[in-house]
Amino acid sequence: MDAYNNKKTDNEFYVQWHFIDSCNLRCKHCYQNGYNNKNIDFDILNAIFKKLDEAMAKWNMKCYVSLTGGEPFLKPEGLFYLIDLIENSDNFKNIAVLTNGTLINDELIEKLKTYKKLSEIQVSLDGHDEKTHDAIRGDGAFLKTVSAVAMLKNSGIKTVLMFTLHKKNAASASKMPELAASLDIDALTVERMTTMNDKEKEEFFIEAKDLKKIYFDVYEKSKIEFKNRNTKLSTSRPLWNLIDENAGGYCPIGLSSLCIMHDGTLLPCRRLFLPLGNILTDGLFKIWYNSDILWNLRKRSGKNECAGCSHSDRCGGCKAISYYYNHDLNSKDPQCWI
């Protein structure tokens, strides 16, 4: 029986931590069901942080954590409490904050700037114009968000845009690079919405052949708009490899990433609502080592179409989208066009 650790010291572990479930918006495509506007329980945040910190130390890994909600700036006291804890631990490498951008102000920005580990603020923008974005996120959201992006950029904080792509904003996708360039943001991510049931599928799902055209257009437009600029198109997610063979990335769930909900429930990914257990009561080690769902996700020798695909090392499809569409985590991504 040999002590065994296959994790290398330079390895990164990604955690998306939804530390509150309250939000000031009610977006049409949101993955969340409840929006309880509860006060922050600092003991819970601290207990979850300690479990994560302990696991990173044991595995010799450095954690990249994205803090979000709900809307994280709705409870800045909770957000900064966590950022302080993370900033002071050697087991954490970077912090990102994922926000809808509508509550950001100068005071918050000044405070954010004091943290060395804050690597970026990711702002959600679901349309290239007011009409498209506000139809999804509510009246007045577009202008507030765009103004927050400008404030963040002026402050020197790395600012990236997240465009959640679905049927209702598909026409906006190829116009996002132009907006991103005009805002001088650091990176644009165009990521597909996960439709979780038949109703959502009907309303939001984009067929593979249409997605191919959208991705192609976004990629080509980005090449033009981002030429001689510092703005990048993020293409590290599954299926971008079909547009550029050097792009794409294998889904990290079950291998080097986790999602933590406000009450300590662990999910493989926020878009894959398969509770694995609770970090507070079960502990992270027990869940990570024993969850059948995670072991199923770790399988690389499945007999699906991806196994024989030359792209499988940098793709494998989005497990969440495959699960909700095909009821099988390891099936071929239903939006794959090859």
């Binding site: 029986m1 065994y4 502990g283 080690f285 024993n290």
Partner: protein, 86 residues
């Protein structure tokens, strides 16, 4: 009869046989015989039955099986990873 403690578990994945300490996070790699022995530490199988299963499945003599079995069990008992439920 020997039983794995509630805070540990074992797993066979696509490549390895692995032993987990779910309390401390420690991980150990097992060989196939050790994995089989531990999977039989279920609180219902006698030591004699564990030994005879090992002899049959791995085609080893009683002496060899006993040597592997005792070395592993002593180590795990000392770490309180297994206990005798009798």
């Amino acid at each position: 009869m020997l039983k794995l403690s509630d805070t540990v578990s074992i797993k066979q994945d696509e490549t390895y046989y692995i032993f987990f300490d779910n309390a401390t996070g420690d991980i150990y790699k097992l060989n196939e015989i050790s994995y089989k022995i531990l999977s039989l530490c279920d609180g219902r199988t006698t030591n004699e039955n564990i030994l005879s299963t090992i002899m049959q499945e791995f085609n080893v003599t009683e002496q060899e099986a006993k040597k592997d079995f005792e070395a592993l069990i002593q180590k795990l008992l000392s770490k309180k990873y297994i206990y005798d439920n009798e």
